[in-house]
């Protein structure tokens, strides 16, 4: 397997790198020194732009470009790191904060220096208890070692990092809902524009970036933008962590050069399928993206190619579905997640995911009726593009694509009043 050298996931090679001494002994905080010595903040932003680094939280927005949107009007600025990672299938940020928290902290200091933020927050998913503990401990270590606080390493730059724990809502990973939650409000998404870069936390210019995005900064500063561009494609350069789950031999997080083929990820990195099972479908980018089918395994994993194949790279949560799995069950189970996680702000998502889940559950339980599939398709049309935030659209990704690619399975459920695979998901509604 083409495992060269790991950058973001060095924790898989270096034991105890979560301890500051070990981190320091392995080039830790060298990138920070280099950033202070070699770059003015603006030059650092340019370097990140040149590297082509794109946000790893899902949308893939170019990070340097995002940073350059901050208005230069003297108001305080904030950096907020999104560690809410609640997307089913995605578990990379968890490993990054649990096993190498200093890498994130170093990346945050560099990013704050570049964006001239004086205060930075980590919004940590509520369920990540160990992650939050690790971050807390590491932040305290960083303060003790002079990497945080006033006048860091005599650079004249000062930064404080605060850790905030969420309360268990997927929507709080959406950046504007995250900011609401951080301010102590109900985690509902905000109207955009204004975007966080202009009016974010407490109305101030704010950069929101994913954990993995920020973790790219230390290697990027040490090795330079050209190095980053030696990997991946022109539009999707660099490294990406893919979380592989499902019946593979070695589920886990893998750092790949972008544009690595899906088949390579599954077969070489993740050790292939357990018991030689056949692959029925793959959800390549977390539960919010459409499924790819077995004949699409040669798709290169970069943003453009996955999009061209009809899905999205998203947050890199690669869920492999084997041929024994019922796609109606997959759709019903994932949709239920969105129903539970819909914040309730807008009508189509709130009511639509509820209704659609009920109908899917019925079909899955063998109680489907003729017309149900048309009804679901029509509901999806009434939700898609008509919701307030991307969660509502995300809810449809798997359902709509599964119905398209595996129409026969759905129809069989209705005709035979049972699951042709013999699987049976529990049938419930919110009322039960």
């Amino acid at each position: 397997m083409s495992q060269a050298r790991r950058y973001l996931l060095r924790n898989q090679d270096i034991p105890d790198i979560d301890r500051i001494e070990v981190y320091e002994a392995n080039q830790g905080y060298q990138a920070l020194r280099q950033a202070f010595n070699q770059y003015e903040p603006a030059a650092l932003v340019e370097m990140v732009k040149a590297s082509g680094l794109r946000g790893r939280g899902g949308a893939g927005f170019p990070t340097g470009v995002k940073w350059s949107f901050l208005p230069d009007d003297g108001r305080p600025r904030y950096l907020v790191v999104n560690s809410d990672e609640a997307e089913p299938g995605t578990f990379k940020d968890r490993e990054l904060i649990e096993h190498n928290p200093h890498q994130l902290i170093e990346g945050m200091i560099i990013s704050s220096y570049a964006t001239r933020a004086r205060e930075a927050y980590i919004y940590c998913r509520g369920e990540f208890r160990r992650g939050a503990e690790q971050l807390r401990r590491a932040v305290a270590e960083a303060y003790r070692h002079g990497y945080l606080g006033e006048n860091i390493l005599d650079s004249g730059f000062s930064l404080d990092i605060k850790i905030y724990r969420g309360a268990g809502a997927y929507i709080c990973g959406e950046e504007s809902a995250l900011l609401e939650s951080l301010e102590g409000e109900r985690g509902n998404p905000r109207l955009k524009p204004p975007f966080p870069a202009v009016a974010g936390l407490y109305g101030m210019p704010t950069v929101v970036n994913n954990v993995e995005t920020i973790c790219n900064l230390p290697p990027l500063v040490l090795n330079g933008a050209e190095w980053y561009r030696t990997m991946g494609t022109e539009k999707s350069p660099g490294l990406k962590i893919m979380s592989v789950s499902g019946p593979v031999n070695r589920p886990g997080n893998y750092e790949i050069p972008l544009a690595t083929r899906l088949r390579v990820l599954i077969d070489e990195y993740a050790g292939g399928m357990r018991d030689q099972r056949g692959i029925k479908a793959v959800i390549p980018g977390g539960s919010s993206v459409p499924v790819l089918t077995a004949d699409q395994l040669d798709t290169p994993l970069d943003y453009e190619s996955v999009l061209a194949a009809g899905s999205m790279l998203g947050s890199g949560g690669c869920i492999v579905i084997d041929e024994r799995t019922c796609m109606v069950g997959v759709a019903a189970r994932l949709l239920k997640f969105y129903r539970e996680e819909s914040c309730g702000k807008c009508t189509p998502c709130r009511e639509g995911t509820y209704w659609m889940t009920d109908v899917l559950n019925r079909i899955e339980a063998g109680e489907g009726k003729p017309g149900d599939l048309e009804l679901i398709a029509d509901m999806a049309d009434n939700i898609g593009g008509k919701v307030f935030c991307p969660l509502g659209d995300a809810a449809l990704g798997v359902v709509v694509s599964a119905m398209k690619h595996f129409a026969d399975e759905f129809e069989a459920h209705i005709k035979e009043h049972a699951c042709p695979m013999g699987a049976r998901l529990y049938y419930d509604t919110v009322n039960h």
Partner: protein, 775 residues
């Protein structure tokens, strides 16, 4: 200006206008639930979907700002399907309650479902069940199942009013509106959510099941409870007012009311409403009393001359009624002894009077003596609205307790009771002593310096200078005056004279329609009332006719009022309720009240507004004109009243000049003594209401926490004996951190604790009454 096309019609609107508003200007209806202009866009309900050419998806009209050359389609296959989808989603969990819903027929869900919805339902899964009768407070009930989660109510309370007492709870399809900490909502503005709710989720409890929209008469009216004169819609049924709603006026009012105005309409049918007349303590028919009183008046005029008859006007009478009374006095009787029943002594000349437009432009707002939130509540909301537009709004409270509050933060200059005028004069002297008007104003002030609560004596000078500069240097000054101290008029004149930029005063004092009475020809000056009472006491008046007002309750010196009544041979009262001290009245005749006669009210802006009559006078209650015509007949005079709708055009009182204000005497109060301070509070005094009973403060008196501790009344409050120089009253009082030590703030007009027995400004001894008991 931005030019765009909506449904083939062109329009130019200012930059930043939302498509929904631009369409409304063209008269094109775009359905909305969550959007409300006062609250701004939210984008939650998605019912306002429209199609904009060159945009990949439908957009919400309420969140999309216009752009040059934009082409918008508000109907069409795509839009209609989108809207139909949203409506279908809204209905899946909506109960089938319409036939029993109070909003049935006035509901936007029904309306839009009719206009844009599909004909048949496709939903046959189980519906979500939520709470159906969740009380928000004693006036408002919430049916969570009917709620469409537009958040108007939540945002109104939290963002608009600034009293975050409603919230969303739960998430997804389980989301419900709930009260914060599950405590009842206490804001006096909460009732507005009933009007704001686009569906039948938030309902008025007093109105519940009272009527169906199709057997109602909804007429335009005006709230009579305070001088704001909020515009309302009053719903009549079977001769009664059964509901009051806010009535928005384009570019002027959002239609907010306070709960005093919204729920305080039940006075009309309370058991103690006067339904028949009383003559010499005996119940009589109104017709008989009419004749008797007519005889009395005729006799008085015949034997003692027209000037032996005096007339007082107050209460909720309309301008037209007041004018009828004024004409009766002058044309039929020929007396000039006509005055207004007042409880405060101040007068505001029209030339100084501002309007709500001044609030919309103000950069500085000064409260003089009272807190608008308590005296003229909806003015507080207007100020809040201004503050939301203009966060730099400077708010200053000048009074004997802290007048500003967290929803409209400001600074306070807390003075010794009754020293507002002198403190302002001193501040003007420091800031602009060289000005002629200020010289005159402060001629008697000398080197007087106030003591200000919480201000070091050495810093008082600076504090006053700062105040003076705010008063004179601000760009657009609005002063809200409690009307207590008549000398304030000079201060207000001086400020206006010295200032270069605009200043405007809004009077917070009553009677609610005093400006209207003035226009009708009733002199509002307190001196005038005093001189009529002098005439009574001196025996120059033998017959006193009181219309509306309740002299003993309202006049600031009760003993003097009693003395005056006792000195008059015959006192006649017209009104909706028996006055206090009935033994002084020789005849009491039942009058028609608000909602029972068509007429106008002039509000604190000096703006006349018409109120219709959805109700009919109960029992033998008669409109004033009936009595006046009968009495004119008894005097064999011919009196003809014009159309009720027409307003009399009377000249405003002449403008006074700046006069020197009085230098305050030395403070002389013992450590255990308090000074009484009166306050106008809309929830207290005024017309009785059972609906509002729970809102009448259990402990209307307020003392400082330290004094409360000394008096041992605890956090909750307790019963105190307040001993004045020649009278004693009981007051239920509670600690209020806004009140400094050494004073007790007490609302006017509380029957159980009449401040006018003790007197405003009186130094009193206060001690705890042993047996504990709420009134």
């Amino acid at each position: 200006m931005i030019r765009l096309t909506i449904d083939d019609q062109q329009i130019s609107v200012p930059e930043g206008t939302l498509v929904a508003d631009a369409a409304a200007k063209l008269g094109i209806e775009i359905p909305v639930y969550c959007y409300h202009q006062a609250l701004g866009p939210l984008g939650a309900c998605r019912i306002c979907l429209v199609q904009v050419e060159k945009m990949p998806k439908l957009v919400t009209a309420c969140t999309t700002a216009v752009q040059e050359g934009m082409v918008v389609h508000t109907r069409g296959a795509l839009v209609d399907k989108g809207r139909q989808g949203v409506l279908e989603f809204l209905l899946i969990n909506h109960p089938l309650d319409c036939p029993v819903c109070d909003k049935g027929g006035e509901c936007f869900l029904q309306d839009y479902a009719f206009s844009y919805g599909a004909s048949a339902g496709r939903y046959d899964e189980p519906k979500i069940h939520k709470l159906k009768d969740a009380p928000i407070n004693e006036f408002i009930i919430l049916d969570q199942e009917r709620c469409v989660l537009c958040q108007r109510c939540v945002r109104f309370m939290g963002e608009y009013v600034g009293e975050e007492q409603l919230m969303l709870e739960g998430r997804g399809v389980q989301t419900v509106v709930a009260t914060v900490d599950h405590q009842p909502v206490v804001s006096p503005f909460a009732g507005n959510v009933i009007d704001l709710c686009p569906v039948g989720a938030l309902l008025s409890r007093p109105y519940r099941y009272k009527a169906r929209p199709w057997n109602l008469e909804r007429v335009e009216s005006v709230c009579p409870h305070c001088p704001v004169g909020c515009t309302t819609l009053a719903t009549g049924r079977d001769g009664h007012v059964v509901r009051v709603e806010g009535r928005p006026e384009a570019d002027r009012h959002w239609g907010w009311l306070c709960d005093r105005g919204r729920f305080g309409y039940d006075f009309a049918y309370l058991p103690d409403r006067l339904l028949a007349a009383t003559v010499e303590g005996e119940e009589r028919s109104a017709a008989e009393a009419q004749r008797t009183v007519g005889g009395w008046i005729a006799q008085a005029v015949a034997s003692h001359g027209p000037e032996s008859v005096a007339i007082l006007v107050g209460g909720q009478h309309t301008v037209q009624e007041a004018n009828q009374i004024a004409r009766f006095a002058r044309e039929v009787i020929g007396t000039e002894r006509v005055a207004m029943v007042r409880s405060t002594r101040g007068y505001l000349p029209s030339a100084l009077n501002g309007t709500f437009e001044d609030i919309e432009r103000a950069d500085t707002v000064v409260y003089l003596g009272g807190d608008p939130y308590e005296s003229v509540p909806v003015v507080h909301l207007k100020l809040r609205d201004r503050y939301r537009q203009f966060p730099d709004l400077k708010v200053i409270g000048i009074g004997s307790w802290v007048l500003t509050r967290s929803t409209l933060p400001g600074q306070d200059v807390v003075v010794e009771p009754g020293q507002e005028v002198a403190v302002l004069a001193a501040a003007l002297k420091i800031a602009a002593g060289e000005q002629e008007a200020v010289k005159v104003l402060t001629a008697n002030l000398g080197d007087w310096r106030p003591s200000l609560t919480g201000v070091d004596p050495a810093a008082v000078e600076d504090r006053l200078r700062e105040l003076g500069q705010s008063l004179l240097g601000s760009e657009h000054l609005v002063l809200l005056w409690d009307g207590k101290d008549a000398e304030m008029e000079s201060v207000l004149h001086a400020i206006k004279t010295v200032r270069e930029e605009r200043s405007a005063v809004l009077p917070m004092f009553g009677p609610a329609n005093w400006r209207g009475f003035e226009q009708a020809g009733i002199d509002p000056h307190f001196d005038r009332l005093d001189s009529v009472l002098d005439d009574c006491i001196a025996g120059r008046v033998t017959t006193l006719l009181v219309f509306g007002g309740d002299l003993l309750r309202e006049y600031p010196d009760r003993r003097r009022a009693e003395e005056a009544l006792a000195a008059v041979e015959r006192v006649v009262q017209e009104g909706c309720f028996a006055p206090e001290g009935q033994e002084h009245y020789h005849a009491i005749v039942p009058g028609a009240g608000w909602g029972e006669v068509v007429g106008s009210y002039v509000n604190l802006e000096g703006r006349p507004q018409t109120a219709g009559a959805p109700a009919t006078p109960p029992g033998q209650a008669r409109p004033v004109r009936t009595y006046l015509l009968a009495w004119a007949h008894a005097l064999k005079k011919n009196l003809v009243f014009e159309d009720e709708g027409r307003l009399p055009g009377m000249a405003a009182a002449a403008r006074a000049a700046v006069a020197p204000v009085t230098r305050p005497g030395d403070l002389a109060r013992g450590d255990d003594e308090l000074v009484m301070v009166g306050n106008t509070e809309v929830m207290e005094g005024g017309l009785p209401s059972e609906y509002l009973a729970s809102r009448v403060a259990e402990y209307p008196g307020r003392v400082s926490p330290q004094d409360a501790l000394r008096l041992e009344i605890g956090q909750q409050g307790g019963r105190l004996v307040v001993e004045g120089s020649d009278d004693t009253i009981m007051v239920n009082a509670a600690p209020d951190p806004r009140v400094p030590g050494g004073r007790m703030v007490l609302p006017y007009g509380i029957q159980e604790s009449p401040l006018n027995r003790i007197g405003e400004g009186a130094t009193v001894k206060v001690y705890r009454r042993e047996e504990v008991g709420a009134r």
